[in-house]
Symmetry: C2
Subunit: 246 residues, 2 copies
C-alpha cells in the first residue's frame, strides 16, 4: 500500500456503503465491498448488491479516490470569466489526459486540499492552471456533484471566477503547473449581456414517481435537492448554462 | 476473464496508447500499459508516462470499459423535452448509483449497442428509462465527450429528444428497466421561449497558447474542435445550456 494512502482512508472507502445508505435505499449490499486493486492514487472496488425484493445479484466495479476533505467534493470546476479591454471571455484549459489517450477541453479544475474552501481551491487552481488571479470567486455549489457515477465515486463542486484582465497582475499570466500537468489555456469571448425570456407558469405537481417543476425554476430545484441527491455534474452544468445571467 | 470481454477488446484497451497518440502528443508512455484488474464490466489500467523533455515518471490509474461500438462514444446522454398540455418539461432521471453510494440526478442515458446510431440509442434509452416514446430525436454531437477523464476513458455523445406528451402512446409511460436499474423519472417544466441577447463582436485571435473566440460562438468552436480534441462532458453540457434555443 502506498504511503500516500493510509488505512483510515481505505476503511472510509469501504465504510460508506454502511454509513451512507439512505433509509429508502433501493439496494442491499451482498457481503463486504472488496478492494480489488490498490494504486497510489486510486482504489478499484467491487461491490455485490441486489435490489430489495430481488434475488438477482449484480456486481458494480468502480474506481475511487482518496477523500482529502472528508464530506466534501473531491474537486472544484471553475467557470472563469475574463474581462479584458471591454470584452468577456470564458477561460478553458486543453489538457492531455492519459485515460482517454487524448487532449480534453475542460474547465480549469482541481482537487480540494485538506481543509480548503471551494472558493480558495478555485482561486488556487485558476492561478496554477491559467496564471490568472481572480478578482472575485463565488461558490456556485458546495455539494458533491458526481462525474461518471456509474464508474467512479468522483465528485466535484462548482465555482465561478471573475478575472480583471486589464489589471497589472494579469498582463502576463504565468501558469504554475505540477510536473505531471500538460495544459494549454483557451479563451472564448463572451457577449456582455445574456437575457432569457422566461414564461412565468405556476404548476408544481408532485405525484410519487413524477415531479413537475417549471423549467425556469429547474436550477433552483436541482439546488434544493442537492443535499439529499447527488446531482450529476452534466445536469448541473447544463442548468448552469441554461440559467446563466452573465 | 469474463466471457463478456474477449481478447480482442482487451488488446484494444491497451493498444490505444500506441495507435492514438497524436503527433504533437506531449507525453511518452514508459513501458507497456498494464491491466491490473479484470472485472466483468471494467478493466483497471496502470500507465506509466513522462512528459517529453522530462525525466520524472508519472503513473496514471484509471478504469476502462468495453468499447461496444468501436470508434464511437460509450454512451449517449439524452436532453429530453416533454411537450404536455401546452407546457414544456425537461425529463430527468433519479437513479441510485453504487459507486457514490447515493441517488444521482441525471439525464436519461445509456450505453450504445453494437452498430447502433446515437439517435437510435437515445430513442431506446429514453423509452427504457422513462417510458416515453420520442416524436423526434436529434443528435447534438456524435463525438466522444469524456466524463471524468482523469479517472476513466468513459465517453458520451449528446442527443436531444422531443416528446409529445399529449399523444396516446405517452399517456401512461411505462419504464422498461434492466434488473439492475433503479430509476425514478423527474420532469421539470420548461418555459416556451428562451432568447439570448448576444453581442456581435468580431475579434478572433490565435496566439499559440491562447485562442480568443466570441462567447456566442463558443459552442460552434467547441464543435469544430471535437474531431481533434475530446471536449469534456461538462464543458459541452454547459455550452449546450448556454446556447439553448428551446
Amino acid at each position: 500500500m502506498s504511503a500516500t494512502w493510509i488505512d483510515k482512508d481505505e476503511d472510509r472507502t469501504i465504510a460508506k456503503w454502511k454509513c451512507s445508505l439512505p433509509a429508502d435505499c433501493p439496494v442491499e449490499i451482498v457481503g463486504k465491498p472488496k478492494i480489488v486493486y490498490r494504486g497510489q492514487w486510486t482504489r478499484t472496488v467491487e461491490v455485490h448488491y441486489r435490489k430489495r425484493n430481488s434475488k438477482k445479484e449484480e456486481v458494480s466495479q468502480s474506481i475511487h479516490r482518496k477523500e482529502i476533505s472528508p464530506g466534501r467534493a473531491h474537486g472544484v470546476e471553475v467557470i472563469a470569466i475574463l474581462h479584458k479591454a471591454g470584452k468577456r471571455y470564458f477561460v478553458f484549459v486543453k489538457e492531455y489526459r492519459i485515460p482517454p489517450a487524448g487532449y480534453c477541453f475542460e474547465f480549469p479544475a482541481g482537487l480540494l486540499e485538506e481543509g480548503e474552501t471551494v472558493i480558495d481551491a478555485a482561486r488556487r487552481e485558476l492561478k496554477e492552471e491559467t496564471g490568472y488571479t481572480a478578482s472575485k470567486v463565488i461558490c456556485l455549489s458546495e455539494e458533491r456533484h458526481p462525474m461518471a457515477p456509474q464508474l467512479t465515486d468522483n465528485s466535484i463542486s462548482y465555482a465561478i471566477a471573475e478575472i480583471n484582465g486589464d489589471s497589472l497582475e494579469n498582463q502576463n499570466p504565468k501558469m504554475h503547473l505540477d510536473e505531471a500537468e500538460i495544459i494549454e489555456v483557451v479563451e472564448v469571448e463572451c457577449n456582455k449581456a445574456l437575457a432569457y425570456v422566461q414564461s412565468i407558469s405556476t404548476k408544481v405537481n408532485v405525484d410519487g414517481m413524477v415531479v413537475e417543476i417549471e423549467c425556469n425554476k429547474a436550477l433552483a430545484y436541482v439546488q434544493s435537492i442537492s443535499n439529499k441527491v447527488n446531482v450529476d455534474g452534466m445536469v448541473y452544468a447544463f442548468l448552469l448554462g441554461y440559467n446563466a445571467k452573465f
